[in-house]
Structures are given as C-alpha cells and as structure tokens.
C-alpha cells in the first residue's frame, strides 16, 4: 500500500509536446468512465480501455506517459501483463496498479518492478496526486 503525502504543488497538465497521455484500464465500465472524466477534468488526455487485450494492442501502436491499470482484469490478475506490455515499448514508463487488495506477494512484485499500487476505493485527491507524481517521473516509490 503506497501512501504518498505530497506537498501542495502544481500539477502539470501540459507537456511541451502537448497534454499528458494516460492509459486507464479497468473492466468496470462505470469505474472506467469516472476515472476518465476525473483525469480529463484535470486536463489530461485519457485513453480508457475496458479489456486487457485491447490495452495491450493499443500499447503497441500508441505512446503514453503513464499507465493506470486495474489489477484483476477479467478476474485474472492480468494487470501485470498490461504493464509489462507497456514496458516493452517504454521500459521507463511509470505505471500503477489499481486494486482492492494486495497480497504481500503482489506488493513485492510491484515493488520489484517499480510499479506503484493504489488501493481502491481511492481517495480522489491521492489518486490525482500519485498520477501527477508519476507523470513527473519523480520517485514515486513505495
């Protein structure tokens, strides 16, 4: 469980090349939608995917600044796979797993792979803060 207390800071929404692109993956449609709306409201460019296969396919073609992915997609804990796919194209891409629970093993694995974990139900402010940190590639460790 990562618990980041961030000082109040500006959340960058625009890169020199344009807006940040975030890939959000979650198999719950309403959750997916609301995440997208929140992130877009924040000023990010969001691509929302409902299936892991879709997400992996997208990652092949498109470039993203960060990946936020639900851990148990299709009941199969394929979150890691999606992120692995993203890392294949951009090894340093910041990624976070969104999950309702995390076993020690999961946490260990995430830590080993330099993947953040966000526990659902999230606190929206924290959700946004973590995302911002990740985008800045700014030590979003455990």
């Amino acid at each position: 469980m990562t618990d980041l207390k961030l000082p109040n800071c500006e959340r960058p929404t625009v890169t020199p090349d344009g807006k940040y692109r975030i890939l959000v993956v979650d198999d719950e449609s309403s959750v997916l939608l609301t995440y997208r709306l929140i992130l877009e409201h924040q000023g990010y460019e969001v691509v929302a995917c409902g299936k892991s296969t879709e997400a992996i396919a997208l990652l092949q073609n498109q470039r993203f600044d960060t990946v936020l992915c639900d851990y148990s997609l299709e009941e199969q804990h394929t979150g890691f796979e999606v992120i692995a796919a993203a890392r294949r194209h951009d090894p340093a891409i910041p990624a976070a797993l969104l999950t309702g629970y995390a076993t020690k093993e999961t946490a260990d694995e995430a830590a080993a792979k330099n993947i953040a974990i966000m526990i659902k139900p999230t606190v929206t402010e924290e959700f946004l803060a973590t995302t911002s940190k990740m985008l800045k590639r700014d030590g979003y460790g455990r």
Binding site: T34, L37, A102, I119, K120
Partner: protein, 733 residues
C-alpha cells in the same frame, strides 16, 4: 539405854499414815512374841511418828535401809542388819548394816532355797521371828521380813480386774512366797525381799519387839511405795527411750510414715510426712487450707483402707506445701493394736510414686500415640496404594542401586512380575527391563533430583512399541542420600492424538476463516468497483451542484467516503488465500516491519526489536502479518509526534511438553487507551480515531487470533502508552 538423841523431824507436814494398823491388827501373835509391853505407849506413839516422817521423806529406795537401821539404832539396839534376796541368784546377802562386823554378817548369808535356814524361813513364811542363840550368831536376834506389798492392786491389775497383783498378795500373806512368784503378772514389777536382823538384849520385852516390828513395817511401806514409784519411773524411762528410738527410726525413713489414732489424727509422723501435714513457720492461709485438705484426703483414704480391708493400698495425691507441688503417693496402712489386742490406731507408709505414675501415664500416652501413628501410617499406606492403583500409568519404584523394588499392575505388564509363580518373563519384557534399567541407573547416579526422558518400550497389551515419557523423582533419607527413585511412565500417544486433532481442527478453522475472508473479500470486491464509480461521480459532480444543494451534496460525499473506507479496510484485511503452515513468527515480524519501515521512520517512531529464538508455529502467515501491521499502525497513530515502539517475542512453556506458546508484545509510549474503552476496542465499529477510524481493525485482528486458538489482550495507561500481547499456540508433534 535408848538413845534419846532424836533427830528433828523435817519441815514437810506429815501426812497421816495408815500406819500398818492392819498389819498390826492381824496375825502377829506368835509363840515368840507373846507378851505385850507396858509403859511404852506414849513413847511408842511418838517415836514411830517421827520415824515415819523420816522414812516417808526418803526419796530413794536405797535410803530406806539406812534410815531403818538408824531408827533401830535410835531405839537403842546395838546392832542391826538387813539382808536382801537376789531373785536372780537366789542368794540372800547383807545389804546394809549397823555396827555389825562384816564377817559375822556374812555368816548369816544364805539362799532362798535353804528352807531350813531360819532367815529363809522367815522370808518364805513372811512372818517375823526371834532367833535365840544359834550357830549363826551368839546373841538372840529379831528377824522381820521385808516384802514388796501394797494394799491396792497395781493399776494394770485393776484394768483387767484380776486380783492377781503381787503387792496385794504379799500384803495379804495369802500363800507362802516363792522366789519365782515375785513378779507381778499384771504390771510386771519385780518385788524385793529382805530381812531385817536386830540383835536383842536380855532386857528387850515383847513390847520392844512389837515396836521393832512396827518400825520395820513402816520402813517397808515407804520402801514399797518408793519401789513402785521407781519402777514406774523406770518403765516410763524405758518407754521414753523406746519411743525415742522409734522416733529416730521413723525420722530416718525417707518415706512419710504416720502413726494415727482411731480418729485418724496423727500421733507421730516422720519428717518426710511433716511436709504434708505440718504447717511450716510462716505458713500462709492457703497453705493451711492445703494442709487441711491433705489431712482430709489422708483420713478418707485411711478409712477406706482400714474398713474395706480389700484394698490395703490406695493412691493418694497430696500437696507438698513447701515445694508447692503435687505428689502422688501409694499409701499402705495397717492397723495397730495395744498389748491387750485392742485396736489403737494405724500406721501408714506412703511411697512417692509420682514419677512412677507419671512414667506410667507417659508410657500409656506414648503407646496411644504409637497406636494412632500406626493407624495413620496404615491409612496412608492404603491411600497410597489406592492412588498408585488408580493413576493409570505404570509406576516403578527403585532402590538406591536402581533395582526395581515396587511396581504397579501396569508396570508389571511391561516388565514382568518378579513375584509371580514361575516368574515367566517374555523376551520383550526382559528387553523393556534392560531399557528401563539403563535409564534408572543413569538417573539414580545423576546429580539432578528430577528427570524427564523418552523411553521406547514395547507394550504387550496394545502390541506396540510406544515412546513413553518417563518422569522420575528421587526420595532422600535423613542423611540426604538417595533412598528410592520413583518413575512414572506416561504414554503420550493419546495425548498426542488429541493435540493432533486439535491442530487439524484449528487449521480447518483458519482455512474456513480464510474462506470466509475470501467470501468477504469477494463481496467487498464486488462492492468495491461500484463504490469507486459512485465516489468518482460525486467528485465529478462537485462543480455542478447549486449552492443551496451543497449541504446535501456534502452529506452525500462524506457518507460515501465512509463506506469506501469500510470497504477498503475490509478488503485490506481479508486479502489472503494463503496456506496454513509452520512459520517462524520472527520472520513475519521482520517482514512486516520492512514493509512499514518507511512509514514509521516518517512518523518519527523508533522501533526496538527484542526477538528470542522461537519454534515454528502453524499459522496463516499473511493473516498474522495483517494483525501485526494493524497493531503497529495503531501504535504509530497513537504517537502523532513520534515515540518509541518495542516488539518482543518469547517462547513460553505450556502445561505439558507438547504445547507451548509464542508470545508477541508490541508496546508503544503513545497516548494510550482510556480505561472505559479498553474492553471495547476489540468490538466492531469502536474506534479512537474519530472520523478516520472504521473501528474494524482490532475486531478483525481478534478474530484472526481466535481462529489461531491464540490469546490477545491489551494493557494501557492514558498518557503513558499501550502494550498489546499476542500468544500463539505451538504444538510439538
């Protein structure tokens, strides 16, 4: 002529004498004394009176003869002599003389048995006589007998009222006297016999003879009285001497001896008896009462003894007034009789048997004690046998050489019965015995008082080799050397089975719990996503809410967040599907701390670890991790400004060697939990964190610990800190 030089009479008044008138009145008319003198009346009356006074004045009997001879001489007779008889020798010899030459006097000596001798005859006939010229003496002589005689019977004869008094017999001249009879049969006085011999002149008349006779009789009266008085005196003296001797004898006796009269009053007592019956000088009131009591006790005991005659002795307890102690006596009494067979009193000897009786009592009491001790020992032995028979485990007692001396029935199954007829012991039993002997020797010679060790023995009853748990102890003698060893063999198989079952059940419970957890997790997970959507939507709606709807909107938001927290927490705790297996708790602690280290550091919490070696415990590792992290986070939350945390583990022994405990202590010096909440913190929905707490954490923690059959408790002081204590069971199978 007669000598008129009369002596002056002494000053004592002369008592009237019964002047032998009786004597004179009787029988003096003998052939020799036929004629009565004339003209001598006046003088005759005066002279005897004077003489009588002198004779009565005599104080000693041996004066009488001299006085008599003086008086005879005063009457003018030239010579006179008194011969006295000695009853022992039978001789009659001169005793006193007046101008009588010795040689001539001795010529008159004779014996009592010389019947023909005139002097003897006078004595025996007890009559006076005149002897004319004889071969004994050239001149005529007047002979007068002097015999002990009295008118009244002696006192003793009077008592028994016989007339057998010597004195009276003599005076009455009832019979011829004999030498042998001169002892009074009653008073035992010895009479005397003498003869007065007076030489006569030619001119002496009958009257002169009469006068002489009267004089002699007068002398005899005095003499008899004095003789009796002397005799009495001597008897009294003898008695006094005897009494004194008896008294000495009595005093010399160390036992109290009492001579009592018929009223049981003490006539005489030994010195030893005085302590009990005589008041010492300066005796106090209560001493006198004690003496009185002694007297009464004694008198009553004496009465009983003398009256009953059956019990010649009795036990008597008297108070020794001088020493102030009670003394037990055995009194023996015998009646005493006077010389005439009359009961005059009793003599009692008392033996101090205090020590004897006390010894007897002590002996009795010791005997009773012995009996009751025997009884107790017997009961103990019976109880012990009962216990041993019912223990249900083989029990073996060995001596100091580690040889088996006692076995209960179960032990006999294992080792064989040495006392059984035809002592058949199977090979297996022999083997068992070897194994046991080796163990027993080792223990007996070891320095420890107790020992527990596994022993592999074959149990023929179940036909199996069983590992017994042998527990031994030593019994020491008074000198501290090993006297016996006692060993109990416990078959733990059954116990192990039970423990095994318990563990299996617990694993089941844990797994069920996990399953429930999984179920809960599944439900929570199901709820999770909708919650996320709701929450996100609320966030998104924020800007679209009209101002007057804001309060409602806020309620919506905050309550939703609360539900979200609950779900989160539930998910956070029920997220494992791990297996239950033996794990080292220390490892789990370290893992958890690793995970939480950053947070703790940031919170300025200093963690100290005190982990001792632990055996593996069969637990669900992740659940325990949850427990630990929950408690650690709580501790951190209680120290908002930082503080210290201590985590300690210990391995504690349990009730038997199969069970033990792993204890985990987590202590902080934070704000503490208020007393009224301490019980309630483990209940659901109780929190000290205000809005932020869900109140579920410790409830779930408790649930996990309970499923592990562990124990959980908390101690806290507000302002000082809190300690959580977790005990997890360990079973060695």
């Amino acid at each position: 002529m007669k000598n008129n030089a009369e002596k002056k009479p002494p000053k004592v008044p002369v008592t009237s004498i019964r002047s032998g008138s009786m004597i004179w009145g009787s029988n003096l008319a003998t052939a020799e004394l036929r004629f009565q003198p004339e003209g001598f009346g006046g003088r005759r009356n005066k002279k005897p009176r004077m003489a009588a006074m002198r004779l009565m004045d005599a104080e000693r009997s041996d004066e009488i003869f001299s006085l008599l001879l003086e008086e005879i001489a005063a009457l003018g007779y030239p010579r006179a002599l008194v011969l006295e008889a000695d009853f022992d020798t039978g001789r009659i010899v001169p005793a006193a003389a007046h101008k009588w030459p010795r040689l001539q006097a001795e010529k008159l000596a004779t014996t009592l048995s010389a019947d023909s001798h005139p002097i003897t005859r006078v004595l025996l006939a007890s009559r006076p006589a005149v002897l004319t010229k004889t071969t004994f003496h050239p001149r005529p002589v007047y002979l007068h007998p002097i015999l002990y005689s009295q008118n009244n019977v002696c006192w003793e004869a009077g008592r028994v009222s016989t007339a057998g008094c010597l004195a009276v017999r003599n005076s009455r001249r009832e019979a011829a006297i004999s030498a042998k009879d001169q002892t009074c049969p009653n008073c035992e006085i010895r009479g005397y016999a003498a003869v007065a011999v007076v030489e006569l002149a030619k001119r002496n008349t009958e009257a002169d003879l009469t006068e002489l006779g009267e004089l002699v009789e007068l002398a005899n009266m005095s003499l008899s009285r004095l003789h009796r008085a002397q005799y009495r005196y001597e008897r009294v003296r003898e008695m006094e001497i005897t009494i004194a001797q008896m008294a000495t004898v009595m005093q010399s006796m160390t036992d109290p001896v009492m001579l009592t009269d018929t009223q049981h009053h003490v006539i005489m007592q030994s010195k030893a008896a005085e302590r009990f019956f005589k008041a010492p000088p300066g005796a106090r009131e209560r001493d006198l009462r004690a003496l009185d009591a002694n007297q009464q006790l004694f008198a009553s005991a004496l009465s009983t003894m003398l009256v009953s005659g059956i019990e010649p002795h009795r036990d008597l307890v008297l108070l020794d007034v001088q020493k102030g102690a009670e003394v037990i006596f055995e009194a023996v009494a015998a009646p005493t009789y006077g010389p005439d067979g009359v009961h005059v009193g009793a003599v009692t000897v008392m033996r101090d048997v205090t020590e004897l009786r006390l010894a007897g009592l002590e002996l009795r009491s010791n005997f009773d004690k012995l009996r009751s001790t025997e009884e107790i020992v017997r009961q103990d032995r019976d109880r012990l046998n009962l216990i041993i028979e019912n223990v249900g485990d083989p029990i073996v007692v060995c001596d100091r050489q580690a040889r088996i001396i006692l076995m209960d029935t179960l032990a006999q199954e294992l080792f064989g019965n040495p006392a059984a007829v035809g002592a058949s012991r199977s090979a297996l039993q022999s083997k068992n015995q070897e194994v046991f002997a080796a163990y027993s020797k080792m223990f007996t010679s070891s320095a420890s008082d107790r020992e527990t060790a596994p022993l592999q023995l074959y149990n023929p009853a179940v036909r199996q080799s069983i590992e017994y748990d042998a527990r031994s102890g030593k019994i020491f003698d008074e000198m501290g050397h090993v006297a016996f060893t006692v060993t109990v063999l416990r078959d733990l198989t059954a116990l192990r089975k039970v423990e095994q079952l318990k563990v299996e059940r617990r694993i089941l419970e844990i797994e069920k719990f996990a399953a429930t957890g999984r179920l809960a997790a599944t439900i929570a997970h199901e709820v999770n996503n909708p919650m996320e959507a709701i929450k996100n939507s609320i966030y998104l709606l924020a800007e679209s809410i009209p101002p007057d709807a804001l309060p409602i909107y806020n309620i919506l938001k905050s309550e939703t967040e609360r539900v979200a927290r609950i779900v989160r927490q539930m998910l956070g705790l029920y997220r494992n599907n791990e297996q239950v297996k033996p794990v080292n708790v220390n490892t789990i602690i370290e893992d958890t701390l690793l995970l939480l280290n950053r947070q703790l550091q940031r919170a300025n919490v200093e963690v100290r670890l005190d982990l001792r070696e632990l055996p593996d415990a069969v637990i669900a590792a992740d659940q325990i991790r949850q427990v630990l992290s929950n408690i650690i986070i709580n501790a951190r939350d209680a120290m908002p400004d930082g503080g210290k945390m201590l985590i300690r583990t210990r391995h504690l022994p349990g009730r038997n060697e199969l069970r033990s405990w792993v204890r985990i202590l987590i202590a902080d010096n934070g704000t503490g939990i208020p007393r009224d909440l301490q019980r309630a913190i483990f209940e659901p929905f109780v929190t000290t964190k205000g809005e932020k707490g869900t109140g579920l954490g410790l409830w779930i923690v408790k649930g996990i610990i309970q499923n592990h059959a562990g124990k959980l408790s908390a101690r806290s002081t507000v302002g000082k800190g809190t300690v959580f204590k977790i005990d997890l069971p360990v079973v060695r199978l």
